[in-house]
Point group: C2
Chain length 355, copies 2
DNA sequence: TTTTAGCACTCATTATCCCTGAGTGCTAAA
DNA sequence: TTTAGCACTCAGGGATAATGAGTGCTAAAA
């Protein structure tokens, strides 16, 4: 059954009042806000219908109404207005993302923090490679007579380096040769293939040469290993406590623990998988499969990071979430992230190693 | 006035019972635990004395006693026993710190997380350079005809890289020359000196050559800028809610906010400065100057990261903190960190850049 | 047929009162 | 100096009552 116009107006008013106040909404409040020239009694009748239809719920007989998950869903799909970001907010977002010299990880982390501050809800971020990573290129830089820096560039454009000490002195020519071997035999191989190739090489190479190759390849394997994992971060968990539904610790603790653990447990713990294409996704209350999220809503967006990686950023809050505000901010973020990673704007790399 | 032995035993018993139960301690409980063969009445008399002297406090007339900050201080200085770590715990710590392929930042961050898990309190970590950082060496790697990777190594052993696209094609020889210029004119300079030198160079170089130099030096300046800042992280803020003193949100919120903000605000917000030498430091309740920490205790240790940086790691909790347990874990961490950074065990570096 | 005014009813919330019991300080005897 | 005894204090918890916002229903009005 399609709702008539008046019912929609009333439902929208109830959702918005409830989002603002966190208190069950009575017929009087609706009459004041909805801009309908009817009495509270009429509204009560309509509210009774909406309850019957499953869009509203009643905490107890003598209380006002609260939107049901179905009510929120209708609101999100049809009734919700566009929310405008202020100039200050867009400025803030741009400032946060336009930092140069930051690594992928940090840009994403920072994005999560800022989004959390702007929305007053916790935010999680995740990134994972879309396909297996391989080494694209090796470079070796002589530092001293018996030490060089190995630079490994992967096909997801990550560059890592490590200082390698050699057991004996090595000439430029030898280093050149080593570089040739590495680039001809180990480029484009997956992690497992690299290990295999290294094994084969052991039997038919000079022990000295093999040791050198092995040190660099082991390092490359570590790099691939690290790159193949996903990164997950959360930000602003404490924002939860600002919302009345989590004023009791019994309610807040499980969700906070879930969010904290998410950082440890990897993407399996996330409410959705990293799907293709850029898109926005809203899960309301029981639409979440995960038990810990049964009474919470998640608004999230996924985006591409270059050609090889995929990222997701999501806002977690009570079902009484300010969907209009959150979706506006989130889509601005997702657009900005897509744009900046699309441009390949990740200019820098970093490393530590012993002297 | 020096306390007699019996008073010390009673004080110690009260502190330890209170740490375990979070309830004011009565004379009966002390009599059971302290191992003194005297009646509760005698203990009551001693407790009255200890209250008079300022070591104990009484929430109200008909309640038991609670240690005052002065009482905790005496306990920490004189009465506290050595706490032993279990084999599992040392194993856990070693596992967490012995990860290869991690950057400084991540090792420290991870250390904070694990310490927080082991102690059930929030943990903050910070690191800052002891002196100004300079570039130690430039390397340039040709990638394609019109793109090369600039590798900048600083004197605190950080290596960063960036892909630089050139307006026109460049030969190996020209790249060689560029490298020579950079290494002879910009190595060992501070941030400001580099900017100066670059300015001077502008007037007397060919525009094309200057543009190239400028791109690399600008990158180096960004690296120095980033390295000169301090890093601050916090972990396990939600652990606060597990302790009864923060069961009310009014108590928990300000401290949680303080800890969250610490990440943004830099070392100025920290309870202490990064002092020389490896040492442990305990601040109890009002000994903290910062208003937000007036009712909390901070146990922290600082340590050296190589020759050029200084780190600090600290545990934050209620004054009723398990000082013996926390100090044991913390000092094990500080020792481990000193040892690992002393050995220069930071083997890897990372980077992202466009293709 | 739809809307509205009126009214009795419901029930979470808050305030109030009382009771219980752990713990104290003091006194007087050991 | 230590201990037993005892009157006193006071936070915490449970029961009870008062409050008031909001409802559903009925009957009249539009």
């Amino acid at each position: 059954m399609e709702l008539n116009n008046r019912k929609k107006k009333i439902l929208r008013a109830i959702v918005e009042i409830y989002i603002a106040t966190a208190e069950p909404v009575g017929s009087k409040a609706v009459a004041e806000q909805a801009g309908l020239d009817v009495s509270t009694a009429t509204i009560r009748n309509e509210m009774a219908d909406l309850t019957e239809l499953g869009y509203l719920e009643q905490p107890h007989t003598s209380a006002g109404r609260v939107p049901s998950p179905m009510g929120y869903r209708l609101y999100v799909n049809e009734l919700m207005g566009e929310h405008q970001l202020t100039i200050q907010e867009t400025q803030r977002i741009n400032d946060a993302l336009n930092l140069r010299m930051e690594e992928l990880d940090r840009v994403i982390d920072r994005a999560g923090k800022v989004l959390s501050q702007l929305s007053d809800y916790p935010v999680f971020t995740a990134a994972a490679p879309k396909k297996r990573i391989t080494v694209k290129r090796f470079d070796l830089l002589m530092v001293e007579e018996n030490a060089f820096i190995a630079v490994v560039m992967t096909d997801n454009s990550v560059v890592k380096n490590k200082l390698i000490r050699m057991p004996e002195q090595l000439s430029d020519t030898q280093l050149q040769l080593l570089s040739t071997v590495l680039n001809s035999s180990f480029v484009g191989l997956s992690l497992e293939e690299m290990e295999e190739t290294l094994d084969k090489m052991e039997t038919r190479s000079a022990p000295g040469a093999f040791q050198l190759i092995s040190m660099v390849v082991q390092f490359a394997i570590e790099v691939l290993n690290q790159q193949s994992g996903q990164t997950i971060h959360t930000a602003g968990i404490t924002h939860l406590l600002e919302h009345p539904e989590y004023r009791s610790l019994d309610k807040a603790k499980p969700l906070m623990n879930y969010l904290s653990e998410t950082e440890e447990q990897g993407t399996s713990n996330l409410p959705v998988t990293l799907t293709e294409g850029q898109n926005m996704n809203i899960l309301i209350g029981p639409e979440n499969i995960n038990e810990a999220l049964k009474d919470t809503s998640v608004v999230m967006a996924s985006y591409d990071i270059g050609d090889n990686m995929r990222g997701i950023i999501g806002v977690v809050g009570p079902t009484r979430m300010d969907y209009a505000k959150v979706t506006a901010r989130l889509s601005y973020f997702a657009d900005s992230l897509t744009r900046m990673f699309g441009k390949g704007e990740l200019p820098s790399g970093e490393g530590h190693h012993e002297e």
